[in-house]
Amino acid sequence: MQWVSYLPSLAQGALVTAWITLAAIAIGALLAFVAGIARVEGGRIVSTLALCYTELFRGTSLLVQLFWFYYALPLIGISFEPVATGILVLALHVGAYGSEIVRGALASVSVQQVEAARALNFGRWHTLVHVTLPQALIEMLPAFGNLAIETLKLSSLVSLISIADLTFRAQSIRNLTLDSAGVYTLTLVGYFAMSLVLMMVMRLIERLARRGAAFPRAAHS
């Protein structure tokens, strides 16, 4: 029953993982909306900037981004705490992928809805906030759920910039005890439990959003 002794350390690591993941999702979702709306509604310059951001972060390795922010950026005098770096880079990742989700969902709202809003003389901002976004939001939720779980799993990369997350703790314990089977099994269970919770929370949000008669279609499974 050696593995019981790993639990306190792994639990601490899991807390770090949870904190980094949740913070990255929250900040990333904000970035996703800003960049996604900029892509759809922005003028040429704004939407190009948003596109550059999206493609830059989707087109490069997350691990290299982490190293770049952690090791290269300080060379030009900008440095953050490791945890802040981890959250920032993961948030930029969520923002980049999330902006595609936001853009796609906004584009999927039928053009007739926009024309109806225009015929009622809604301004662009009102059309976005009161007509297109509320309809797009429902479409985004399943994809955002997947992205959240993806982010949880990717967060293990932050162990490589010496953040004591679940993966980092697991590595340390394994190096001490050499009990690969026990340590890594527990670690997998830990990630799985956390993603299960995330999944249930996202399902709940989706169910609440689809509550009532406005969107009678069944929730995506």
Binding site: Q113, E115, A116, L120, N121, R124
Partner: protein, 259 residues
């Protein structure tokens, strides 16, 4: 112009509209007097919807002049495609409302919010004023008891009546109907036509109606225009068009729709 002729509310003067290489309206001339009820009939693809959509500022046009109550749709120096600032377009839109073939209600809003939303957001009415206005209009279209339903809970005919109430809530001078009953099951057409028929008695409201309901067109319109290939091929009183059409294309079309 003589004194007893009212200046037109709507005037298309030499309007040309192209979609890429396709010219849909070519040097189009058309006038509508204030309060007039005009029906546009004609084969599919002849440009009827395009005329309404240009009036609603949903489509730009390339050449010619269009005015509404003396306001020019184009502003000098403004950029294509609309050649008018957003502010100018919104000013024009404040006089025009439109009812679409596919209703286009907002699915995430209750019926009363569908009707009250624009008066609140655009006209700046208080929620209470807008709701009171909405309740009146829903009563007018016979749907006061459905105000807390969502569009998905209504039949097509009911949805279209809500859409009419929603357009009226903005108090437009001109109301455009683009085949308002074409998407409906036959047994639901009557209830929508009845609402439009009541509106046609509103003296001040100018109506442009595209429809394939010939009997209805005959009842409600002051003037019927037969469209063919982007031109008004023949126009006149409903009696003249339906009982004694002179143009062979009109005869052909009427024969095909009246069976």
């Amino acid at each position: 112009m003589t004194d007893n002729v009212k200046p037109p509310l709507i005037q298309f003067a030499g309007v040309t509209k192209r979609f890429g290489a396709l010219t849909v309206l070519d040097n189009f001339n058309f006038e509508v007097a204030p309060g007039e009820k005009v029906t546009l009939i004609g084969p599919s693809g002849s440009g009827k919807s395009t005329v309404l959509r240009i009036l609603m500022t949903l489509e730009p046009f390339q050449e010619g002049r269009l005015t509404l109550a003396g306001m020019d749709y184009h502003e000098p120096g403004a950029a294509a495609p609309f050649r008018a600032s957003e502010r100018h377009l919104r000013n024009i839109r404040s006089h025009v409302g439109m009812v679409f073939q596919s209703f286009n209600l907002f699915p995430h809003m209750s019926v009363i919010r569908n009707v009250a939303e624009a008066p609140v957001r655009v006209l700046g009415l208080s929620r209470d004023e807008a709701q009171a206005r909405a309740v009146d209009l829903l009563a007018l279209v016979g749907l006061a008891d459905k105000k807390d339903h969502f569009p998905s809970q209504l039949s097509g005919g009911q949805q279209q009546r809500v859409a009419i109430a929603r357009a009226l809530a903005m108090r437009p001078r001109v109301l455009l109907f683009d085949e308002p009953t074409s998407a409906l099951d036959p047994q639901l057409v009557g209830e929508v036509l009845a609402v439009i028929r009541d509106l046609a008695h509103e003296h001040d409201l100018t109506m442009l109606l595209v429809t394939h309901e010939m009997r209805f067109a005959r009842e409600v319109s002051d003037r019927v225009c037969f469209f063919d290939k982007g031109q008004i091929c023949e126009q006149g009183s409903p009696e003249a068009i339906f009982t004694a059409p002179s143009h062979p294309r009109t005869c052909e079309f009427l024969a095909s729709v009246l069976g």
